[in-house]
Amino acid sequence: MKKITTSVLGLLLGTSAAFANEELFVYNWTDYTAPELITKFEEETGISVTLDTYDSNETLLAKLQSGATGYDIVVPSHNFVEIFISEGLLQPINASTLHGAENLKPDFANPSWDKDNTYTIPWQWGTTSFTVNTDVFDGDINTYDVLFHPSEAVQGKIGMFKSADEVISIAQISLGLPLCNENPADMQKVLDLLKAQKPYVKTYNSDGILERLISGDVAVHQNWNGYSIRARDENPAMHYAFPKEGVIAWADNIAVPKGAPNYDNAIKFIEFLMEPENIAIQSNFAGYSNGISGSEAFMSEKLKTAHELSPPEGTPLVFSKTCSPEAVELQNRVWTALLQ
């Protein structure tokens, strides 16, 4: 009844703007948005937020390619940002001109995937390597040999992701080959390495990593750093490796799709996220670093001291890339040949 009264009033006064401004549709990976963050934003702005979730960058891409779907905020990974931009799926936000832009860390202001932050600001970033149960394996964990030349203790107890590009990327780094390789001879080496490893792999699966590690089904599992913290919470013997050959890094980014129904609210949300205090809420929730300087002061003690979030000096961080169709085709052939 109240709603009807207000809408009648709104009509009489001719201010429909009040209604157009009160919503924001966020499309993000599940369990990757801190509930407290949303509540705080709603309280501060009076905008009501609806959160929907997806499972992969490809799903997001396919849905945005198919036309408007009513989302105001999406969160593509950095190696997909260029695709989204070149396909014309995002609208400029010119983040460097927004309130709070001075807080962007140097690494994430003007990143290689989005010059001048025209389309995106960083959401969370992290690394992909592997978690080792040091009760089972007590050697040097900071090398890919743990995965690809496994000692007897971990043979048959290795878990790998079920994702061609993430598995092939670390194989390439361990062999010292460039990412997104288009050279067939190099990719043959990658295939040989992965085929030699396969008998020692228990499962290729990106779900349920924590359970397999904790239950002892696997002793080594390819993993993300923030997720490895959760494994260590359950069992202190779980250590996250920073292989000296190099560690894959990634960043998920906030962007506004074309045709977003509530562009102004999306901008408000983005400015909100560039406040150190706010983005720290998200980091505390998900366990990943963010790209806003000054947020450390608001982070929990657990996160401040987590070795998972601070790669040792001298270990190169390699941001994964947007691969060419030729490189994707080669990856695809290697993956099919591996799992045929």
């Binding site: 490809e58 061609a164 499962t203 359970e211 002892g216 089904d217 994707v328 099919t336 799992l339």
Partner: protein, 297 residues
């Protein structure tokens, strides 16, 4: 004119279902058919140029050095999927038939309760239920711990991440699709038919063979179709319980539309799967016609 109106009238009841499927299924499939003859787009989708590459790929592959060679990779994946789907159908039938028969022989109100009992588990998401099987089957799972406590084995048996686990998962997922149609065809089974058969043959199993099974045949066929086709394209059980170490048709198609970014090849695979299934159904229909198709009253 009248004949057209007559035809329309007699087909009236068919129109909602067929129209819905034609508009929302056949038209989209035609789009997929078109995709299968395009070149892959750089980031998913297709490029508007005619190409039969997607179909050639099924059997021939450019090796890493761009030579066209015969490549059995996809055939192997297809045979593995068909084999597991057949095992699932047989498993579902062996388990489902006695259950459907038993339920059909119950008093009426109890029958409905049994039916509802079958559907209760499905209120829980498939992924969640499949995770529960991992708890049962893994090295530190219920079965292994139980057997070791009883002293029957010293080392855990490898149950999880095997093809057996995949078949178990598929049977678990699809067995109700077998029970319900068989039950539906047996439910008003005339007990006098069995009485007559017992008088004639005086053996329960002979009566089963010559009376009950022919009566259940429409249900068995419906159930086999309902199990076989989804099992062929399944990917949750193969990934979770099979360990994802070997691709199945379902995951292969899935891969093409996601990280492999090759929609035309995914579309071509789908067309081939559809063609295979249609052919099986066609041959079934023809042989059923020849043999008079089950019992006639």
């Amino acid at each position: 004119m009248t004949s057209l109106r007559e035809t329309l009238r007699s087909h009236l009841a068919l129109i909602p279902a067929t129209a819905t499927i034609t508009i929302f299924m056949v038209l989209p499939i035609l789009i997929i058919l078109v995709y299968s003859f395009l070149a892959p787009g750089d980031y998913g989708g297709g490029k508007p140029e005619f190409s039969t590459n997607a179909y050639q790929r099924l059997l021939f592959q450019r090796d890493l050095f761009d030579q066209m060679v015969f490549d059995p990779a996809y055939l192997k994946i297809a045979f593995r999927s068909v084999w597991i789907a057949v095992v699932s159908v047989v498993g579902c039938l062996l388990l489902g038939f006695p259950v459907a028969y038993y339920i059909a022989c119950q008093p009426e109100e109890r029958r409905n309760i049994f039916l509802l009992l079958i559907t209760i588990p499905f209120w829980t998401n498939l992924l969640v239920r499949t995770y529960c099987w991992i708890l049962v089957l893994r090295d530190t799972g219920l079965v292994n711990v139980g057997l070791m406590r009883m002293g029957l084995i010293d080392e855990p048996l490898t149950l999880l991440y095997t093809e057996g686990a995949v078949a178990l998962g598929l049977i678990y997922t699809y067995v109700p699709f077998m029970v319900l149609p068989i039950y539906a065809s047996l439910e008003r089974m005339d007990r006098r038919l069995i009485e007559a058969a017992r008088d004639l043959y005086s053996n329960r199993w002979v009566a089963l063979r010559y009376v009950v099974i022919p009566l259940a045949m429409p249900g068995i066929i419906a159930g086999a179709i309902l199990v076989f086709i989804p099992a062929l394209g399944a990917f949750i059980a193969p990934d979770l319980l099979g360990g994802g170490k070997n691709l199945m048709l379902g995951s292969l198609v899935q891969l093409q539309f996601s990280s492999a970014r090759n929609w035309p090849f995914g579309s071509a695979l789908a067309m081939v799967i559809m063609a295979m299934v249609l052919m099986c159904l066609f041959f079934y229909a023809r042989s059923a016609k020849k043999n008079g198709g089950g019992i006639k009253h």
